[in-house]
Amino acid sequence: MSVLVIAEHDNAQLKAVTLNACAAAKAINDDVHLLVIGTNCGPVVEAASKIAGIQKVLLAEASYYEHQLAEELAPLIASLADQYTHVLAAATSNGKNVLPRAAALHDCQLISEIIKIVDEQTFCRPIYAGNVIATVKSLDSVKFLSIRPTAFDALAADGGSAVVESIGALDALSLSVFDSQTLAKSDRPDLSAADIVVSGGRGLQSSENFELLYTLADKLQAAVGASRAAVDAGFVANDLQVGQTGKVVAPELYIAIGISGAIQHLAGMKESKVIVAINKDEDAPIFQVSDYGLVADLFDVLPELSEKLS
C-alpha cells in the first residue's frame, strides 16, 4: 500500500511545504500519492505531477473546495484513508485545521508536528515548547501525521511525471461559509522558507522603528519575523510571529534583534543553523542559544549593519 500526502495550495500555486511533506512520506514508503483538492487548480496539478518521485496525483475538484474549508475537505480525505497506510500533511495553519478533523472522522489519533520518522509506526515530536522530544508509537490502522516542514529536506520540484487521476467530489456540507481573506502583500521571501530571517521584538518599540529592520532585511534578502510581544503590540502582522504558537523556522541565519529569548520564542527558531542576537542586556537568555552575540543598542547597530552591507 502507498502513503497519501495532502497538497497545500491556493488553487493557483502548489506551496513549497508540500515538497517537505512528500519527503517525509518517501522516508516511510517509496510509493507516494499526492491529493489535490480544490477548484480550477490546473497549475497546481501540473506542479504536483512534476515532483520527483511521486507515483500518482489524485485530483478532486468542486466549487466548494475553493477555500479549503475543513468541513468539506476532511470527509473526502477520510474516505480515501483506508487505501493507505499513512496520511500526511504539512503542519501549516491549513494542515493543522484540516488533518485532525479527517483523522477523527476515521477514528484515528493524529500525531502532530513530527520531526523524525524512526520507523513506519514510530515518530518523534517536540512537546512542552520543544523542551522535550517525545518518541511515540502509533497503534492505529491508518497513521495520520502532520509533519514539521523544517525537519525534512524538500523533494526536487522537477523530474517526476506522475499520472493524474480525477476522483469524484463529495457532496457539500455547507456548515460554514467563506466570507473574506486579507493576505499581507510582501515582496520579501516567505518566512517559513527563507534562508535568512531577521526578527524584531519589543525592543524595537514601534512599527515605525521596524522600518530599520526592514531595511536590513532587504539588504540581506531576508524574511522578517517577530516575537509575540512585537505582534501583540501591533508593530507587525500576526503571521510574522515566530515561536511555539506561531511559525517554526529553521533558516541558515536567524538574527534576533531586541528579543529576550523566552522559551516560547526559542521553540520557533532554535533549529536555525546560525543564530545571531543583538540585545542591550548582556544577560538576555537569547545569548544562551546564539552563535554570535552583540551586546549593543539596536538603534545604533541596525543603521550601521545596513550601511556596511551596502
Binding site: 475543513a70 468541513e71 523542551n131 517525545a134 467563506f178
Partner: protein, 250 residues
C-alpha cells in the same frame, strides 16, 4: 445560547520542563500547574459574549485529575456559571478528550463550544477540530475575532499569510488564538462566589466513552542543546564572522 468551554490543567508556561532521569516521561513533580493560557482566553471570550447579552449560560469542563477543580474554580471566578469535571488520572489523547467533550455536548445541548487552539504541554492542536468532526459541526480554528449573529457566528481566523473570515452555522466549534482577547484578572469577590458555584464530578468510566490509547509513549529526551557561542565586540567583527567563519552571508 449555551456555551461550553473545555479547559485544561497544564504545567505553567514559565516552567522549563525536563525529561525524568529514566527518560520514560517528563518530570512533573512539584511543578506549578495553571489553566492552559489558550483556555483562559476561551473562558474570557465566553464571558464577554454573555456580558453582551448573547448567551444565557457558560459551562466549563475539564477532563483530568481531581486537582483540575482548581482550574474550573478559577474559570468560574472569571464568570463561568457552572463546571463539570470528568475525573481521570490518565493522560488522555486528543481523540479521547474530544469523545468525552462530545458526551457533554450531547447531554447539555450546547450551541457553541470554545476551546484553546492548543495546549502548551501536549502542543497537539487537535482537540477542537476532532470535536467538530465527531459532532458534525462547523469549525473555526485560531480565532482572533468572534461575533455572534442570528443562528450563526462570524469568526476571523489567523492563517498563514494573513486573516480569513468565516460564517459558521450554529452549533459550532471555535478555537482561540492569542489575540482574541486579553483575559481579565478575577476579582476577589468573584473568587469567593466561584467557590459556591456548582461543580459536578463524573468518573470517566461512567461516560461510557472509548478512551483506549491509540499511541504509546516510548521515551522522552531533551533536545540537543545549542551551545552558547561567542560575544562579538562590534558590527565589523559580527560581519566578519558571518562572512568568513559561518559563511552565511557574502
Amino acid at each position: 445560547m449555551k456555551i461550553l468551554v473545555p479547559v485544561k490543567r497544564v504545567v505553567d508556561y514559565n516552567v522549563k520542563v525536563r525529561p525524568s532521569s529514566d527518560g520514560s516521561n517528563v518530570d512533573l513533580t512539584n511543578v506549578k500547574m495553571s489553566i492552559n493560557p489558550f483556555c483562559e482566553i476561551a473562558v474570557e471570550e465566553a464571558v464577554r459574549i454573555k456580558e453582551a447579552g448573547n448567551a444565557d449560560e457558560i459551562i466549563v469542563l475539564s477532563i483530568g485529575p481531581s486537582k483540575a477543580q482548581e482550574q474550573l474554580r478559577s474559570s468560574m471566578a472569571l464568570g463561568a456559571d457552572r463546571a463539570v469535571l470528568i475525573e481521570t488520572e490518565e493522560a488522555l489523547e486528543p481523540l479521547a478528550v474530544a469523545k468525552c467533550i462530545k458526551a457533554i455536548v450531547d447531554k447539555e445541548q450546547v450551541d457553541l463550544i470554545i476551546l484553546g487552539k492548543q495546549s502548551i504541554d501536549g502542543d497537539n492542536n487537535q482537540t477542537g477540530q476532532m470535536l467538530a468532526a465527531l459532532c458534525g459541526y462547523a469549525q473555526a480554528t485560531f480565532a482572533s475575532e468572534l461575533a455572534v449573529g442570528e443562528g450563526s457566528v462570524r469568526v476571523t481566523r489567523e492563517i498563514d499569510g494573513g486573516l480569513e473570515t468565516l460564517e459558521l452555522k450554529l452549533p459550532a466549534v471555535v478555537t482561540t488564538d492569542l489575540r482574541l482577547n486579553e483575559p481579565r484578572y478575577a476579582a476577589l469577590p468573584n473568587i469567593m462566589k466561584a467557590k459556591k458555584k456548582p461543580l459536578e464530578i463524573i468518573a470517566l468510566a461512567e461516560l461510557g466513552v472509548d478512551t483506549a490509547a491509540r499511541t504509546q509513549l516510548l521515551s522522552v529526551a531533551a533536545p540537543e542543546e545549542r551551545k552558547a557561542g561567542v560575544k562579538v565586540a562590534s558590527v565589523d567583527e559580527l560581519l566578519d564572522k558571518l562572512k568568513n567563519e559561518a559563511k552565511v552571508i557574502s
